[in-house]
Symmetry: C2
Subunit: 257 residues, 2 copies
């Protein structure tokens, strides 16, 4: 189904679950909504930390329209589920943020690993958590992001086990897509980036790692959300995990080469 | 000479001319300084128009230190020459902007084509304006940038003649470097992007185009300066053409692949 048709069903409440696998070939986006007085520092944070925070689009203050990513979309209604955080605490989960919208809100659409997972699959590199029907494994690391204004924190990564002989290919394939996290942050040794136990992810689910496979780590779009929470602003709105905006941007059009 | 040594000579006034060819292998940067109240919209403009406006670093409001690009540099003194624009009009050309500096100034360092020109040369693709000892040819186009807040305008491009058989290689080589304008905007037909006469560039100098050569057009870092002027802010400071900051960033480290 075309992105705009899926968005219409989401807007009407007829789709309210995770969006994985919908409108194959089109990029999906994470959401962070902040008040304008924090928007410059947050955009600067994203600019300085492009691997975890690849910006696909930013709305003008007060406008709910992502004019680059999906010009006929409305970021207040076109994600299946949202989370409202007040002073850093999750207070509500809703399917429409129109009642919460203020005229100085700025929405950040952040690229999502769904796009590069398709590129891996297209190259014969299976994605374990998809095959196992779970959420990707995500871990806090000891890698400091470059701070910007009030925003600071450590990088969150996602991990996918890859057969050793395909690890370089996985790095090549995903490096073509800097707008959706790009090449891996690390290959091989979880301890080197501060991860103690691959079996206990900080977010998402653990997956099996087979003999002859190496863990490959990519910067994760949970990072900007975690960093925004650190600041404990009066209000932050994000999408609920897995409940993304389906944009009009074709995955392949995000490739730099 | 290492970047920090060249910057020291510039700071002491011992180098005051164009920086082309200095500290080979290190990225040089364009400058736009604006007041903080315009900084979000300008950063958003750059984010939406990454080919003409690839951001290498942005200083925190009031700080003259480009902490990512050259942590021991001072953007007030380390360019050989600056231009001060008041309400869109060039009023002064100076070698030190410390007396003009205000505590809400934000400096934007924008990537520069010097980096990808070296990549072209390394691939056996000669760069005509370097061989002819002139400035690169730059043209206004009819390509609208994506507007952001008050900032809007059309893209400025630079042009380099390339032998037809090497045009694809030129596109490949420069596509590796999105942080310094990336792949070409157009190959071949100046009229298609609103350029009437290649012999009459809007900025820089005309170069000879030989039989069997095709004009190749790249997005140009003059674009963000031109766009900032359109807004006619109370004050904008830029570098003087060709008088750049030499950063500590190695050209090759900017390659995505």
């Amino acid at each position: 189904m075309a992105p705009k048709d899926v968005r219409a069903l989401i807007r009407e409440g007829k789709i309210n679950g995770p969006t994985a696998g919908m409108s194959g070939g089109y990029a999906q986006a994470n959401l962070v909504v902040l008040k304008k007085d924090l928007a410059f520092d947050f955009l600067l944070f994203c600019q300085r930390n492009q691997k975890p925070c690849p910006v696909l689009d930013v709305t003008e203050a007060g406008s709910p329209v992502p004019s680059l990513a999906a010009p006929d979309a409305d970021i207040r209604t076109d994600f299946p589920k949202y989370r409202i955080y007040r002073h850093g605490i999750l207070t509500e989960e809703v399917s429409d943020i129109t009642p919460y919208w203020e005229d100085d809100f700025v929405g950040f659409l952040i690229g999502c690993s769904f796009s590069f997972e398709q590129a891996l699959i297209n190259n014969g590199i299976a994605v374990r958590h998809i095959d196992e029907g779970t959420n990707v494994s995500m871990y806090k690391t000891n890698i400091d992001c470059v701070p910007a204004g009030a925003f600071h924190g450590q990088m969150v990564v996602s991990m996918r086990p890859v057969p050793e002989r395909l690890a370089v290919r996985a790095a090549q394939v995903t490096s073509r897509f800097p707008a959706v996290h790009g090449g891996p942050i690390h290959i091989g040794n979880p301890g080197a980036i501060g991860i103690r136990d691959l079996g206990k992810p900080d977010f998402g689910d653990a997956v099996s790692i087979r003999d002859g496979e190496v863990p490959v780590f990519w910067a994760c779009g949970v990072t900007p959300q975690a960093v925004a929470m650190n600041v404990k602003p009066e209000m932050v709105i994000t999408h609920a995990p897995g409940h993304m905006l389906i944009t009009d941007i074709r995955d392949e059009s995000l490739a730099v080469l």
